[in-house]
């Protein structure tokens, strides 16, 4: 159920983002989705890739600090109020969202969001109880 995310430490300076991205491109890794968090002096690049283990190895060999985190992917109706509904469930379950971002791909009229919770297992359980469709990793990564 959990989805692996790679996070990379980036310094806040020109070229910091393009280096890892070019590296992955050259090795033919397809980035399924990504997000960037930025602070004053540094940033964090978060990536979801199909072949995350190999990508991690490549990045580490090239001197990046990489961390793997478990994310939870959920389906959201692509219509007004879709996200609000999910967040209702999150709130009612007493879950704390560290951060979230959207998937670039869509399934029919559903969008996909990825969430980072402190306790992903508990989050999955609670969300399912509230009728949220948590997407299995295999389903997601099998899409092209």
């Amino acid at each position: 159920m959990k989805l692996k995310q790679l996070s990379l430490f980036l310094e806040n300076k020109p070229g910091a983002l393009s280096r890892p991205v070019r590296l992955l491109a050259k090795a033919k890794f397809n980035i399924l989705t990504l997000s960037i968090a930025d602070a004053n002096q540094f940033g964090i690049l978060r990536l979801i890739l199909r072949d995350w283990e190999k990508a991690k190895q490549l990045l580490e060999q090239n001197g990046f600090v990489v961390r793997v985190t478990d994310m939870v992917a959920v389906e959201v109706a692509d219509q007004p109020g879709g996200l609000a509904k999910i967040l209702d469930a999150v709130e009612k379950s007493g879950l704390n969202v560290e951060f979230m971002y959207a998937f670039t791909e869509k399934r029919a009229n559903k969008a996909i969001l990825v969430f980072r919770f402190d306790d992903p297992d508990r989050a999955i359980q609670k969300l399912q109880k509230h009728g949220v469709n948590v997407i299995a990793t295999v389903d997601l990564l099998a899409q092209t």
């Binding site: 995310q5 430490f9 980036l10 910091a16 002096q41 978060r46 001197g63 600090v65 961390r67």
Partner: protein, 440 residues
């Protein structure tokens, strides 16, 4: 429970255990011969004694050392290159030079007998940390004008150990040799060894599984926390060796298996601790500047040489039974110190502060800048896998912890910048910790 260390002592270590009265007698004899020699052959020294209305005959006890004038680094520069030599060139068999960070280098000279003394103290240094014939010493100190390489080389060979004269640098080759040749000991700077530790996984080398058991680290100030880190990550025992070219090179003092601070080879080097401001001799246990007098040097006798190293001396008996006094690890040098907003700061304080924050590695650099007359310090610290959380908050927390730790130790708020791993230049010799870009 107190751990007693009683290894079989190597016969070369015998002088380390001299009863104090015999040691003092030997020191005085050697001192008198050397003062006479310097007086006869070194114009600067003779002139300084004459100014103080002293002659070599006034040195009747070890306490009289305090009457002698100090020698400072600029004396070596002012008399560059050969002005302090007490032997004719035909007796001098070796010259070394230190790379001067400011202006001209300093030159030091050795007669054949001086080389023998150096060999002796280096041999005793290796023996003190348990090395003997059969050990394989990977000597990664630089060979050349720097005294580190050849000093360790001769000492290792005399001990009967196998010396690999690999010199500094080329980390991949260092790791290959370490693994393939089965090195049991390595000599280099602590910061360079840290770099080796870091590179090992990439080369597929598991340091803990190698026969390597002793690291003889010196040539730059380091901290106890750094030792703990090195030992935990590499499985070897890290020993502190102390020395300086002006006195002889490495081998002025060396830690024994107890790792309780370097023992000074007092039969050849007479130590004092002084108040750097007043020049007054301080008692054992008090912290001040280390001053050394060579007791057997022929080519270049050094009398009361001010090392700029801040430490203290202790006569407290060491568990190893050596009668030699120990110095406290040298964590700082008075010339590494930088002054920021009127506060004296040593790089070692920053290092200690960093090591106090969990999981940070001491790969750091201190950048000094001046903006509109105001001094700014930026401490750049490399992010490691261990500290990198995937939230901005986690990283900002690390940043704040480092900031706080530095402020606690120095009383100053410094800017902390987290940088990508491997971006701070690794040195193969002495680490360059402070980049002063202030325009004075």
């Amino acid at each position: 429970m107190k751990k007693k260390v009683s290894p079989p002592f190597h016969p070369v270590s015998a002088p380390d255990f001299l009863p104090l009265d015999q040691l003092h007698q030997l020191q005085l004899q050697r001192l008198q011969v050397m003062v006479q020699r310097a007086y006869d052959h070194v114009a600067l020294f003779r002139q300084r004694l004459t100014e103080r209305h002293l002659t070599p005959a006034d040195i009747r006890s070890l306490d009289d050392v305090a009457k002698l004038p100090f020698t400072v680094k600029t004396d070596l520069r002012d008399t560059y290159p050969y002005g302090l030599f007490a032997s004719p060139m035909k007796d001098i068999v070796r010259l070394h030079a230190s790379t001067g960070t400011t202006g001209k280098p300093i030159v030091v000279a050795y007669t054949r007998e001086d080389i023998a003394v150096w060999e002796n103290v280096m041999m005793r240094s290796f023996a003190a940390c348990g090395l003997h014939a059969g050990d394989v010493i990977q000597n990664a100190y630089g060979y050349g004008l720097f005294t580190g390489g050849l000093g360790a080389h001769y000492g290792g060979e005399s001990l009967g150990a196998t010396v690999i004269p690999i010199s500094g640098g080329n980390t991949q080759r260092q790791l290959m040799v370490m693994k393939d040749f089965g090195s049991t000991a390595i000599c280099c700077t602590p910061s360079y060894f840290l770099h080796i530790i870091e590179q090992a996984p990439e080369m597929g080398v598991k340091l803990k599984e190698l026969p390597l058991r002793a690291g003889i680290f010196g040539a730059e100030p380091w901290t106890e926390s750094m030792r703990q880190r090195i030992q935990a990550e590499s499985g070897l025992k890290a020993y502190d060796i102390y020395g300086l070219s002006e006195i002889i090179g490495p081998g002025v003092a060396m830690e024994c298996l107890c790792q309780a601070g370097p023992h000074i080879f007092e039969d050849w080097f007479y130590p004092e601790i002084i108040d750097p401001q007043t020049g007054q001799v301080l008692a054992d246990g008090e912290e001040g500047e280390l001053v050394l007098t060579t007791l057997g040097k022929q080519a270049m006798p050094m009398i009361r040489y001010r090392t700029r190293d801040i430490t203290s001396l202790t006569r407290e008996p060491c568990d190893c039974g050596r009668t030699l006094r120990r110095i406290k690890r040298i964590g700082r040098r008075s010339d590494d110190m930088f002054i920021i907003r009127g506060v004296n700061v040593y790089p070692s304080q920053i290092e200690t502060a960093l090591l106090k924050v969990e999981c940070t590695l001491p790969h750091y650099q201190i950048l000094l800048t001046r903006d509109k007359g105001l001094d700014e310090v930026e401490v750049q610290v490399e992010v490691t896998k261990e500290v990198f959380g995937d939230t901005v908050g986690a990283l900002e927390k690390v940043q704040a912890q480092i900031c706080h730790s530095i402020e606690t130790l120095t009383g100053l708020r410094m800017k902390v910048r987290l940088v990508q791993p491997q971006t701070i230049q690794r040195s193969e010799g002495k680490a360059k910790r402070v980049l002063d870009q202030r325009k004075m």
